[in-house]
């Protein structure tokens, strides 16, 4: 496992000098690279090294850094190594290359990311709507989307029951106990 990972890192370094590797224990190894090179890295790994399985494409919203991070998780059934390819893209102009020519199933993940984070995949051919219906607002998985405010605006909030009272102090008094400080902030 270890020597395979070292070999793999060396192999990728040869082809893509800009790649940054980070080793994790057991069967995981991470690489980060700029966005333009991701399709070539993936194609190389798939066609030359036997990383034929795309497990997932995931997205992280780095709001403070104004960036989105895309993570491509691929797996080789021969090497039994899991590779995570990280890439950062600009949050204000989120564009990524479409990779569904390499793996067809990438299409589904890309549609979901497009809908939930608003990332454009160049040349992605898919219907407009996937999980959300009639949605025309900020993509809901972005961190600056305030879901509580949205929900209280859009949906009716039933007021609480009148007989729902805070009885903790009563109970504490009855049993002669103190409510600990850390729990006090939860009382209504």
């Amino acid at each position: 496992m270890k020597e395979n990972k070292v070999k793999l890192a060396k192999y990728l370094k040869e082809h893509f000098p800009a790649i940054i590797e980070k080793d994790y224990n057991y069967n995981r190894i991470d690489f980060s690279i700029n966005r333009e090179l991701v399709p070539s890295v993936l194609r190389l790994l798939k066609e030359e090294s036997g990383y034929i399985h795309l497990s997932h494409i995931s997205c992280v919203d780095w709001l403070e850094e104004e960036e989105f991070e895309l993570v491509f998780i691929i797996w080789s059934p021969v090497d039994k190594i899991k590779i995570l390819i990280h890439t950062r893209i600009d949050r204000n102009n989120p564009v990524m290359d479409n990779i569904d020519k390499i793996w067809r199933q990438a299409n589904t993940y890309e549609r979901e990311i497009k809908e939930m984070y608003g990332i454009e995949f160049t040349g992605l051919e898919a219907a407009d709507e996937f999980l959300l219906e009639d949605w025309n607002g900020m993509p809901p998985m972005r961190r600056d989307f305030d879901t509580a405010a949205y929900a209280s605006n859009k949906y009716y909030n039933r007021p609480g029951r009148e007989d729902a009272m805070d009885v903790r102090e009563e109970i504490a008094r009855h049993s002669g106990e103190e409510i600990p400080d850390f729990a006090k902030k939860y009382s209504r």
Partner: protein, 181 residues
């Protein structure tokens, strides 16, 4: 038919007696609560002894169980289903999600109070309610039917405008007919 008020009462009584003993539930599950339906229906709790059994299509069903949170996307289908059901029809809201949103109260795509969109006859609370609670809900509905108080469908027709307004509030792209039963 019968104009005399008292005879109408007797006829209604017989109708309601028959209705309460044959509640056919539409096999339509939303949210997590649908998982409590199989144990309720099968031999351990055996809801069929109360006349509750599954029905395959909305047209054959009397009872719509909303078994948990409803996304706006599903709400659209549920409204369509409800309006296709034939009278007499009843709705049971199942689980705290249908009452006040439950643990999805702040979710961007689930509605919070079912009775703004569909007329609910009986609510069963719990997250999720156990089969005993579900059966208690069924018997409560039967009591209401006997007393002639399970009139959700009539209320829906009467206050259709109000319901439509709420429904269109959360379903911006309304593609359904205005009146379809």
């Amino acid at each position: 038919m019968i104009n005399d008020k008292n005879s109408q009462k007797i006829v209604d009584h017989i109708h309601n007696f028959a209705r309460k003993h044959s509640l056919w539930v539409l096999a339509y599950g939303t949210g997590c609560g649908a998982i409590e339906i199989p144990p309720t229906m099968t031999s351990r709790y055996d809801a069929e002894r109360l006349g509750v059994r599954g029905a395959a299509t909305p047209r054959q069903a009397d009872l719509l169980l909303i078994t948990g949170y409803l996304t706006t996307k599903t709400l659209k289908r549920v409204i369509r289903v409800y309006e296709q059901m034939q009278d007499p029809k009843y709705v049971i809201g199942f689980g705290s999600c249908t009452i006040n949103g439950g643990m999805y109260y702040d979710s961007y795509n689930t509605i919070n109070a079912l009775d703004r969109y569909l007329p609910v006859d009986v609510y069963i609370n719990g997250c999720m309610p156990r089969p005993e609670a579900v059966i208690a809900g069924f018997t409560k509905l039967q009591e209401l039917i006997t007393a002639g108080k399970a009139d959700g469908a009539a209320k829906y027709k009467e206050k259709l405008e109000w319901y439509r307004k709420n429904q269109k509030n959360v379903i911006p792209n309304w593609t359904m007919p205005e009146y379809n039963w």
